[in-house]
């Protein structure tokens, strides 16, 4: 399970997010069943698991969009659970989230979507916001698409606009919900590089939900797998690769057959 190297790392990085004994039901469906997870500051954590395992639900708890039935979540040492209004918004300001379905506002243009948070904050001038919008759109390969409407874009393009919108807020922690699902391999590669840069160059904390093991191995320092509402295994990509846990082996076997260990 957790390797020896981790303790040494832990002294270097504080904890950005800590999830303790998180339980969540949806009607009769016990989705999260006492989940524990620590996300260290300045690291990239990949959360993997089959579809319907509760990955998106977990991310929404981390950012305070939904409340646990029991358990608690700490963000930079501050308890998120139970906070409402201004106190909650203050913590949420440290986050940005890239939604699985991109969640762009359909009535606004691409540029307005990317600049929405900044425009509504009213701290920056219109010109400053426009500059940031242009820069972030260029980062995701969508130069000059400011005036298009989300309805005119493909799913993959919308997803990249969602990434640009999250980056525009310049948060400390970025949660990515399946950022490369549905992208072509070239663009997926580009987004993987972008996420790696966020951590390596800008020292951001990233949490990446994915079922693309290729992306998980490439972009993260730490991989955690959700199974039956708990983290059943976590560790460095190497540890994960060598895991003898049958559920993990089954999960990554398809990838192992295609990739090679050198490909890591």
């Amino acid at each position: 399970m957790v390797g020896i190297g981790l303790d040494a790392k832990e002294t270097l990085n504080g904890t950005a997010i800590e999830v303790r004994q998180l339980h969540r039901w949806f009607r009769g469906n016990h989705v999260l069943r006492g989940l524990d997870l620590k996300i260290r500051e300045g690291t990239a954590t990949a959360i993997v698991g089959s579809s319907g395992a509760g990955k998106s639900v977990l991310l929404k708890h981390m950012i305070g969009l939904t409340k646990p039935d029991s358990g608690s979540i700490f963000v930079f040492g501050e308890e998120l659970t139970g906070k409402t209004g201004m106190a909650l918004e203050a913590i949420q300001r440290r986050f940005a989230m890239v939604f699985q379905g991109s969640a762009l506002l359909n009535s606004l243009t691409v540029g307005q979507n990317v600049g929405l948070g900044l425009t509504e904050e009213r701290r920056l001038s219109r010109k400053q916001v426009d500059d940031i919008v242009r820069e972030k759109l260029a980062l995701v390969g969508l130069e000059g698409k400011e005036s298009q409407l989300p309805g005119e874009l493909s799913g993959g393009m919308k997803k990249r606009v969602g990434i640009a919108r999250a980056l525009a807020m310049d948060p400390d922690i970025i949660l990515f919900d399946e950022p490369t699902t549905g992208l072509d391999p070239v663009m997926a590669e580009r987004i993987d590089t972008l996420m790696a840069d966020l951590k390596n160059k800008l020292r951001k904390t990233t949490v990446i939900v994915t079922h693309d093991m290729d992306s998980a191995f490439k972009t993260s320092d730490h991989i955690a797998m959700i199974y039956e509402g708990k983290i059943i295994e976590q560790g460095s990509p190497e540890e994960f690769w060598r895991s003898t846990n049958p559920t993990i082996e089954q999960f990554i076997s398809r990838f192992k057959r295609h990739g090679t260990e050198e490909g890591l």
């Binding site: 929404k60 950012i63 969009l65 918004e89 949420q92 300001r93 986050f95 940005a96 989230m97 939604f99 699985q100 379905g101 969640a103 762009l104 506002l105 359909n106 929405l116 948070g117 509504e120 904050e121 009213r122 919108r165 999250a166 807020m169």
Partner: protein, 265 residues
């Protein structure tokens, strides 16, 4: 004794109880939303970029149908009362009947019905779509309060535009009445107008406008709440919209009845 859930009567009773609980919970949530919305109205001047387009939209979307409704209701009112009044040789009183009916009841209630169908339904459909496609969640993560960004502008637009629409509907209805009075009963325009002036008081008009403003509050809060409360997939949007329209109708009728009774005492 058998458990209450086992008998037919018991099951009905439980269903009824759940329905009532749901209803009161919804009304409670709506009251909370109303309170939060009123608090956000302090930020109206910073958010005029969202309030003014909503007002414009209400005007543009309802004016054609409001005009049509008002003029035909004016026609019919004058026609019906004209026939009855003619028996007593009182045709010149058509103006009073038409104007009082319009100002006190028909103007506000008809306008509310139009706005529910045309605007309330659209508000619920739009916000419900945003809820199920995670756009509301996205707003929150961008530090944008959905009540400020979505509800407050629609609330203020409905609150202000309903009375404006009612004034317009009253006016058009009375003009329609005047036209029929002249064409079918030979009442000159001046006689009609003098009769209106004699009977219609400022109080009648003002009470109608107060009703209209409250209808605006009801319609906007119900429509926004039903939209925000929508969970699940895109299939839920249609259901939420129907639900919202029915809820608005019932609330408007009930409020209208009780406030009218109160004012008549």
């Amino acid at each position: 004794m058998s458990e209450p859930g086992k008998t037919k009567f018991g099951r009905c009773f439980i269903a009824l109880g759940n329905g009532l609980l749901n209803f009161f919970q919804t009304v409670g949530e709506m009251s909370q939303l109303l309170a939060a919305t009123i608090l956000w109205c302090r930020a109206v001047f910073k958010n005029l970029d969202k309030v003014l387009p909503q007002m414009g939209k209400i005007g543009a979307d309802t004016l054609p149908i409001a005009s049509l409704t008002a003029v035909f209701v004016g026609f019919v009112l004058a026609l019906q009362t004209g026939v009855a009044l003619k028996e007593f040789g009182q045709e010149e009183s058509i103006g009073a009947v038409v104007s009082l009916s319009m100002a006190r009841e028909l103007g506000p209630v008809l306008t509310a019905i139009l706005v529910i169908g045309r605007i309330g339904a659209a508000i619920t459909a739009e916000i419900a779509t945003m809820s199920v496609s995670e756009e509301i969640d996205a707003l929150k993560t961008l530090g944008i309060n959905p009540v400020r960004y979505l509800v407050m502008p629609r609330f203020l637009a409905c609150l202000t535009m309903l009375p404006v629409l009612v004034i317009y509907v009253n006016l058009v209805g009375m003009i329609g009445g005047a036209a029929v009075s002249k064409a079918n009963f030979g009442v000159p325009f001046m006689v009609y107008i003098e009769n209106v002036e004699e009977w219609l008081t400022f109080e009648d008009i003002a009470k109608g406008l107060v009703k209209a403003a409250v209808f605006g509050v009801i319609i906007s809060i119900v429509s926004c709440h039903r939209g925000l409360a929508t969970v699940g997939g895109p299939g839920e949007v249609g259901l939420a919209t129907t639900n919202s329209v029915v809820f608005s109708f019932v609330s408007v009728y009930i409020f209208n009845y009780f406030v009218t009774r109160l004012w008549l005492e």
